[in-house]
C-alpha cells in the first residue's frame, strides 16, 4: 500500500481512531466541566473521580446484580447524577458565597476520598469489563480495521455532545441555563427557581462524566485511578477551549484527541506533552481560551 510521509496508512488511521476515542472522552468530560463551571463557578476537581465511579458502578451492576451494559449505560449515569445532587445540596452549596478556590479544594478532597474508597475496596490492578455482544467484532474499512465498540463510542459521544449543545443553545430550558449563568439574581426575579437549576446542572454535568465512565469501561480496565490519569489532560482541554464555553469544550476535546493521535504517529516522544504545550501557547496568545470570552 501507499505510504504517506513514510508512515503506513494502517498505523496513521489506527492512531487517528485512538485519538478520536480519547478525544470523545475529553469532549464528554470537558463538556460537563464547562457546564458546571459556567453555572456554579466551581472548578469540579471531582470530575475524574466521578467518571471512575461511573465505570465502577457499571462493573458493580454487572458483577453483583447481573445488570448488563445497556441498562448500565442509563443507570450508572443516573446514579452518578444522584451522587452529584447530594454533594451539591449538602456541601458545594455552602461555598458559593466564598472564593472559588474553596469549591476547587472541596471537590479535590472529594476526588481523593472517592479514589481512596475504591482503591481500598478493589485495589489498583483493574477489573475487566466485557464488550457487549451486540458491539463485538469489527469491520475492515479497506484502509483500516474498525472495532465496532470503538466506532460506537465515538458516534455515541458525538451524539451526546451535540445533543447537549443543542439543548443548551437552542431550547427554552437552555435559555434559562444561559441566562442564569449570566445573571442568576434576575432570572430568580422572573420566578425561576435558580437553586434547583444549579443542583440539576451539577447533577447533569457529573452524569456526563459517569456516562463517559461506562463507555470507557470496556476499552480501559475499570480502575480506581482511571479518572485521575485522564482528568489532568481534560483540564488542559478546558483551559485551551475556554472556561465555560460549551462548543469550545466539544471541539477542543475532539481536536486535541486527534492531535495527540497524530503526534503519536509523527513524533511519539512528544505525544504525552503536546496538549500541555498547546495549552501554554494558547494561554500566551489568548488567555481566555480559543472559544472563551474575557470575564
Amino acid at each position: 500500500m501507499v505510504q504517506l510521509l513514510g508512515i503506513p496508512p494502517q498505523a496513521l488511521f489506527g492512531q487517528l481512531l485512538l485519538g478520536l476515542i480519547n478525544g470523545s472522552f475529553y469532549a464528554l468530560l470537558s463538556l460537563g466541566l464547562a457546564v458546571i463551571f459556567g453555572m456554579l463557578n466551581v472548578v469540579n476537581m471531582a470530575h475524574g473521580a466521578l467518571y471512575m465511579v461511573g465505570a465502577f458502578l457499571a462493573w458493580l451492576l454487572m458483577t453483583h446484580a447481573g445488570i448488563g451494559y445497556w441498562p448500565a449505560l442509563v443507570l450508572a449515569p443516573l446514579m452518578v447524577g444522584a451522587i452529584g445532587l447530594l454533594l451539591e445540596r449538602t456541601m458545594l452549596r455552602r461555598l458559593y458565597k466564598v472564593d472559588h478556590l474553596y469549591g476547587l479544594l472541596l471537590t479535590f478532597g472529594l476526588a481523593l476520598i472517592f479514589e481512596g474508597i475504591f482503591r481500598h475496596q478493589y485495589g489498583v490492578s483493574g477489573q475487566p469489563y466485557p464488550i457487549p455482544d451486540l458491539l463485538k467484532g469489527g469491520s475492515n474499512l479497506g484502509f483500516m480495521f474498525l472495532p465496532t465498540y470503538r466506532g460506537w463510542v465515538v458516534a455515541f459521544s458525538l451524539l451526546v455532545c451535540f445533543g447537549t449543545w443543542y439543548a443548551i443553545e437552542r431550547t427554552r430550558l437552555g435559555a434559562y441555563l444561559r441566562a442564569a449563568t449570566e445573571n442568576p439574581t434576575l432570572v430568580q426575579a422572573f420566578g425561576i427557581n435558580v437553586p434547583v437549576m444549579v443542583s440539576l446542572t451539577y447533577g447533569f454535568g457529573v452524569a456526563l462524566a459517569g456516562l463517559a465512565g461506562v463507555l470507557a469501561a470496556p476499552i480501559y480496565q475499570v480502575n480506581p485511578l482511571m479518572g485521575s490519569n485522564l482528568i489532568i489532560v481534560v483540564f488542559a482541554v478546558v483551559v485551551i477551549g475556554g472556561m465555560g464555553s460549551i462548543l469550545g469544550a466539544i471541539v477542543t476535546g475532539l481536536g486535541l484527541g486527534l492531535l495527540e493521535g497524530l503526534t503519536k504517529v509523527f513524533y511519539p516522544e512528544a505525544a504525552n506533552i503536546v496538549v500541555f504545550v498547546i495549552m501554554a501557547v494558547v494561554l500566551m496568545i489568548k488567555p481566555a481560551g480559543l472559544f472563551g470570552r474575557e470575564r
Binding site: 427554552r172 435559555a175 434559562y176 444561559r178 441566562a179 449563568t181 449570566e182 445573571n183 439574581t185 434576575l186 432570572v187 430568580q188 426575579a189 422572573f190 420566578g191 425561576i192 427557581n193 435558580v194
Partner: protein, 240 residues
C-alpha cells in the same frame, strides 16, 4: 380619591420596612401603598433607598424586617422565586438584557405566571423598534431598545404590578418620549406601576402620586396635581 390613606383596595402595602446589605442598615422603616391601576413614583437622590425598596419587594435583598403585602399576601419570608409568580414584574435599573440570548429569547425568557398577559404582536405594537430584531443578540440593541425589551418581556408574563427602575436613565429625549408613551399605554391597559425616577419631569407626566425618599425613609407624599404647589419643598429634597 382619598390620597395617602391606606385603603382596603391597596394592591401593594409596605409597612415599616427595614432592609440591610450585610451589616449596613439601608432602609429605615419605609411605608407606602400602591392602589390597583395607580402609577406611583419613588423620587429621591442617589442612595436614598429607591432601588433597595424595589429589590426588597422582589426579595433580592434578603435581609428585611417589617411588612410587604401584595394583594394581602406577606412577601417577607416567601421563597424568592415565588414572589414574581404572584404577578409582580421587575425591570431592573441596569436593564438586565442577556448577552448570550437573542432578542426573542430575552423576550420570552420570563415564564408566564398569570393569564391575561400581552401577546407578542401586541408588544410589538407598543414597541415597534423591537419588531424584526428577534435573532439579534440581546445586548446589540441600542440602550433605548434594550430598555424597551426589558419592559416588553415583563408584559408577556401576566404580571399586574410592574416595578420600573429608572427606565429613562441615560437615554436621549426622543427615546424617553417613546418610553413615556409606552408607560402611559400600560397605565391605560390597567397595569399598576411603581416607578423609580430621577427624571422628575418624566415622572410628572405619568404618575398619580409621588413618594419622596431620603436616607432610607419616605419623607413626603405628593399627589401629582399638587406637584407644582410643592415645587420648593421638592427641590430641597431632591437637591435639583
Amino acid at each position: 380619591m382619598p390620597d395617602g390613606s391606606i385603603t382596603k383596595t391597596a394592591m401593594l402595602e409596605v409597612g415599616d420596612l427595614h432592609a440591610f446589605y450585610g451589616e449596613s442598615h439601608v432602609l429605615h422603616g419605609v411605608s407606602l401603598d400602591v392602589r390597583q391601576g395607580e402609577v406611583v413614583t419613588l423620587l429621591g437622590r442617589n442612595g436614598a433607598g429607591k432601588t433597595t425598596t424595589m429589590r426588597s419587594i422582589m426579595g433580592i435583598v434578603g435581609k428585611r424586617r417589617g411588612s410587604i403585602r401584595f394583594q394581602g399576601q406577606q412577601l417577607i419570608g416567601m421563597a424568592q422565586h415565588r414572589i414574581p409568580r404572584l404577578g409582580i414584574g421587575y425591570v431592573p435599573e441596569e436593564r438586565g438584557i442577556f448577552s448570550s440570548l437573542s432578542v426573542d429569547e430575552n423576550l420570552t425568557l420570563p415564564p408566564v405566571v398569570k393569564p391575561g398577559g400581552m401577546t407578542v404582536p401586541q408588544i410589538y405594537e407598543l414597541f415597534p423598534n423591537l419588531k424584526g430584531r428577534g435573532s439579534t443578540q440581546g445586548t446589540r440593541l441600542s440602550g433605548g431598545e434594550q430598555q424597551m425589551l426589558a419592559i416588553a418581556r415583563i408584559l408577556r408574563t401576566g404580571a399586574t404590578l410592574i416595578l420600573l427602575d429608572e427606565p429613562t436613565e441615560g437615554l436621549a429625549p426622543v427615546i424617553i418620549e417613546q418610553i413615556g408613551v409606552a408607560v402611559r399605554a400600560l397605565k391605560a391597559r390597567g397595569f399598576t406601576i411603581v416607578l423609580v425616577e430621577q427624571n422628575f419631569h418624566f415622572a410628572a407626566t405619568i404618575a398619580d402620586r409621588h413618594y419622596v425618599m431620603e436616607e432610607g425613609r419616605i419623607v413626603d407624599m405628593i399627589p401629582n396635581d399638587q406637584l407644582h404647589a410643592n415645587m420648593d419643598k421638592l427641590h430641597t429634597h431632591l437637591g435639583v
